[in-house]
Symmetry: C2
Subunit: 174 residues, 2 copies
Amino acid sequence: MTRLMVLGLLTYRPMSGYEMQQMLQQSQTDKWAGILPGSIYHSLKTMTADGLVEIDAVEHTGHRAKAIYKITDKGREQFFELLKSSLVEPSVAYPTTLYTAISFLELLPKEVILESINVQEKALREQYEEMKRGEEQKAAHTSLPAHIRLVFQNMYDQFEIQLRFLQKLRELYE
Amino acid sequence: MTRLMVLGLLTYRPMSGYEMQQMLQQSQTDKWAGILPGSIYHSLKTMTADGLVEIDAVEHTGHRAKAIYKITDKGREQFFELLKSSLVEPSVAYPTTLYTAISFLELLPKEVILESINVQEKALREQYEEMKRGEEQKAAHTSLPAHIRLVFQNMYDQFEIQLRFLQKLRELYE
DNA sequence: TATTGTATATTCAACGTTGATTATTTAAGT
DNA sequence: ACTTAAATAATCAACGTTGAATATACAATA
């Protein structure tokens, strides 16, 4: 996924690894994509070796250098293949750690279970609120395209399902 | 998550890495957990080094040896900490690769978008059906505990949200 | 002017995952 | 008895991720 993102960004214009981090932050994308700096730079290195991107220029500021990367023809080709395969790949992401924990729930006393669920529910609601604020703030500046609004809606739906799931789970132990 | 699972299994009784694989398969858990053999053995190695598990016995069958691991007191302690922290951790898992792809959807011609969505939808429905068959088959033998039924229901809900999401997305390009 | 903090820009060792590969045993067919 | 296939059991190199660490530049404040 990191490669898809990096190639996608370079599709628009040449860019440095640092600028990518900033774009992901500024567009709230880091909230759901979770792409860390290390992954971006690693991806740039290996994709350079694979001939998918190359260094376009090196900008100097005093004693500090910044590498600007650009996508190659081969990279553009690869990008569209990645893009298409990412669209056809079935996209259901389970909260596997929670599922695993629930598998062993019977080993925990009821009070601990109930308290844990309550803590998670609170954390979930806070994330949800923060996400909503993020979208509203962003939508105020740049009117979001319809397909991006659908992505946000999809994230909200996931939250709601998870909240209802926690409620049902709690009812089992009350 | 691999550690949580491995420690959890060893909570019930000593077991070999191979037996864990079989249990995960037989209980359909591998369908959603996706824990590969390599991860299990790696986890057993590092947890042995950390003193969380230890080799209980080595069974020999001809020239083939099988290591049976058991959990230690320290491991049991660690397990319950992992279990509790896994329950409080907010549990929303986004389909990040799909989201990333959608971010760059405007770079693709409409026909390709529509065709890709259709292919994914079909794949999703097939996974969904297979999962349902799996549960029914399992429920026929061993009446599933309520909290496990909730997990299955949660998976189905995720599928339905994703299917509706794809429909909405398609409508944008029809 | 010196100091402190923050932004810029990247590297790297430690760690975990992946999946191909190896090797042996058992069962089934011919 | 011989060959083939499947089940058993585990290893390992290649690869990607993580997060702490490094190092410089710039801005603010004392």
